[in-house]
Symmetry: D2
Subunit: 276 residues, 4 copies
Amino acid sequence: MCRWLAYSGTPVTLQALLYKPAHSLIDQSLHSQLGVESTNGDGFGMGWYGEQEIPALYKSTAPAWNDRNLRELAGSVKAGLIFAHIRASTGTPVQQTNCHPFRHGKWLWMHNGAIAQFQEVKRDLTLAIDPSLYVEIEGSTDSEVFFFLALTLGLEHDPPAAIERAVGLIEHVGHSHGVEHPIQMTVATSNGEKVWAFRYSSAHASRSLFHSADVSTLRDQYPDNPVLQELSGDARLVVSEPLGDLQGAWREVPESCCVIVHGAEEELRPFAPTAP
Amino acid sequence: MCRWLAYSGTPVTLQALLYKPAHSLIDQSLHSQLGVESTNGDGFGMGWYGEQEIPALYKSTAPAWNDRNLRELAGSVKAGLIFAHIRASTGTPVQQTNCHPFRHGKWLWMHNGAIAQFQEVKRDLTLAIDPSLYVEIEGSTDSEVFFFLALTLGLEHDPPAAIERAVGLIEHVGHSHGVEHPIQMTVATSNGEKVWAFRYSSAHASRSLFHSADVSTLRDQYPDNPVLQELSGDARLVVSEPLGDLQGAWREVPESCCVIVHGAEEELRPFAPTAP
Amino acid sequence: MCRWLAYSGTPVTLQALLYKPAHSLIDQSLHSQLGVESTNGDGFGMGWYGEQEIPALYKSTAPAWNDRNLRELAGSVKAGLIFAHIRASTGTPVQQTNCHPFRHGKWLWMHNGAIAQFQEVKRDLTLAIDPSLYVEIEGSTDSEVFFFLALTLGLEHDPPAAIERAVGLIEHVGHSHGVEHPIQMTVATSNGEKVWAFRYSSAHASRSLFHSADVSTLRDQYPDNPVLQELSGDARLVVSEPLGDLQGAWREVPESCCVIVHGAEEELRPFAPTAP
Amino acid sequence: MCRWLAYSGTPVTLQALLYKPAHSLIDQSLHSQLGVESTNGDGFGMGWYGEQEIPALYKSTAPAWNDRNLRELAGSVKAGLIFAHIRASTGTPVQQTNCHPFRHGKWLWMHNGAIAQFQEVKRDLTLAIDPSLYVEIEGSTDSEVFFFLALTLGLEHDPPAAIERAVGLIEHVGHSHGVEHPIQMTVATSNGEKVWAFRYSSAHASRSLFHSADVSTLRDQYPDNPVLQELSGDARLVVSEPLGDLQGAWREVPESCCVIVHGAEEELRPFAPTAP
């Protein structure tokens, strides 16, 4: 169970997002305050949309706080849509193929949470993945299976509907194996234009999820904050745990909701699994 | 496609096997002469039966020639039944979960070769694995799927028969996908008492496999060879490529054959896949 | 700044020491209670005296809690004198050559603490190392320089006297660079027969150090504790942080002291740096 | 002993340089034809000048042919001045701090070759490094000591003169230790504007070094070559081994020479060590 960050806005260096803020994602890798585990040292990954349509990935099994390449890239790479994720394994091996974000074509996916008793339901869920997608599975996590289920069920056409179907299927399969609360999730996905972020759990007691308030308002309130000054007015962040210590900077995403970020526009929608 | 070594005999250090012989396995990691690839630098693994019934494993994604821990262990660990394997990836990621030998309970398994067009047949083969074994799959190689198929089909009760069934199934599934020559293999497996080694390929043009001649005879012929002097009379080696430069030390395992090593006794049997 | 453990006694598996106790060293790698940092995830190392006079080493840059090879070795390797160390870097790179224990011939060395403002004094201290030892330096830590200084000043002949001289030199060089409190340390060293452990700091506010009470007494007190039952009567542990939750099991080593463990015998001596 | 490439010209992706050419640097990591070792699998590094004055670095201890992050970055990062280096260790550990290129401020440095009997001369050479630079040494290679000697002797002001002094010092110290041929080298260094490349050895039998012929001429000769079409007219490559199979594309740098590349201009100068 993990921590993640999704950024969309004018291109910034990763440094501005990952290292500069008080309580940054790198800092959370050592000292998370809201996560289930306080240490997220089981690998790291980021994806960013650059000049190509296909996003680039950097993944490492080293703890993020110690990864020198990450620090170099953070100072060098600039992008307008960035996903970053720090991992605390729930049992599956620490290897690059288990690091988020996962990618399929131009789509990125990252997840904090777990499919409950995954070893028991893994085979049924994996069988539900379309055979043409099945061969792309490289790792052994629940999060990657979840991604390929969502792709199978239409992620590329209607992300909220596809994820509602995928979660419905996961709950159905879990219940049929006697699992009371089959899923716990915050998820972010993107096609390079929009970001969709979801907060849901079968027990209706979901992990934390926040999105940023209007940056221009914040910048007026905090004229001395260097991170805010680097961000454009249409910059939007969705994070599993607030960065920094700015009063009023973060709004909690409500239970069973989806946030859609498209440029400066945000839309909040209810999220409800669709039974198969 | 890889290089491997299986040793059974009086306990020796790994050093005697891995580093001392001319053209040792470590040397082969840089300069294989008989392998399809001359460099086998995509990870390394070894398994050994010590005081516990369950064999211990050491796996690394670093090239074997540079792994300091391997050098340390080789000087420190002594065992009477040892598997060692150097990997040259045929496409799947370089990660510990893809390193041989694979383990299930007290069973070890290592493979040189490939299931042809694995991405096309992977799903069908994986579905044929018993669901109770399916959850133990950790990596993404054809070799691990092959192991779990053999376990599903009775490896723990009759290894040659189970592997004949597994290969029969792999050929059947391959042919049904239009693959002309579905498998290429040398395989070694053990339960800690016996070693079974197999040489087979659908095209009847299999990778090389050798077993050692009688060590006591050799010791008489080469009284100055330090490795031979360390080995007991009942020591037996099965290798994908001969170690050292001893004339008469190595006998080739014939095509479509199985060698069974049990103490000083060896048995050679024909191997023929069983169609499902 | 790190956590470490030194064991001497009847041969045990590392598992008994590293994984079984409540608040084990592995557990401390995630959640240290007494250390300066709560996470010690910047590498791991252990050294053990087996059949050879030269101890074997296993070092890894992965966090200890996630290292599968460590778990395998812990179940397989048995030794009567074991050093284990988890690292929290104070700035130097995370690489195997910076992992403790360090080794020279049959000597092992591990350190928790720091030489203050090491970058400023490093050159002077390194120059004081005997040229024949200088070439053995492989990493970039203060701890390794400290070890080679102690070797230069007679560690192999009289460890307490040599370390008193080394610390005296470190304090002299530090003071000449305007450093108020040049060293902070708990150190363990061994030649395979005895263990010497030191607690000292220039500010007389040293990191914690504990040694175990008499194991046979404890075993009588706690007949149900599985770890105690595996240990022999002459087993002795010196640790930077107590393992387990046994009342009376641990005695604090006083400030500015050295503990010498030789079989079941322990000696406590005052420690005072010798100015050069 | 290693292989390297220096590119200067209109910004290109690394992919165009590292993966596309026949006999590319990645290909050389497995199958070098002119190097002393045929496998260069002991780490990889690259440095590039992006928007910041300080170049960015990416280093990895994995063999280059298998590094997925390298493949991702190669498709994503574009730069107009790029250094890339694949390492075959001559004995020093495989760790990121031993990977080239080395960096000091805006300067990059990479080296193929060796300081002969480095362990014997290391201390004397290291002592000759300016104390303010000494503290920046992170690894344990001869190449990094060479770099810091050159910096000590004026690299930032007059690279050819500084390197002539550094080589003179290395030869002097070597000879005083009875080493017949103290150095073997091809070296590249840059400040982000120019590239200086050197070919020299004490025995006057230096490793190979090539620079590219005029790209526009080549493009006319080979209108179908995709790599050439991506390169601008002022693109210049200096390489330890020719890429591709283009007749007339590569000119050998003569023995004891320095090539200076500045935009489309190239200057060839004699190189002669200056005795201290």
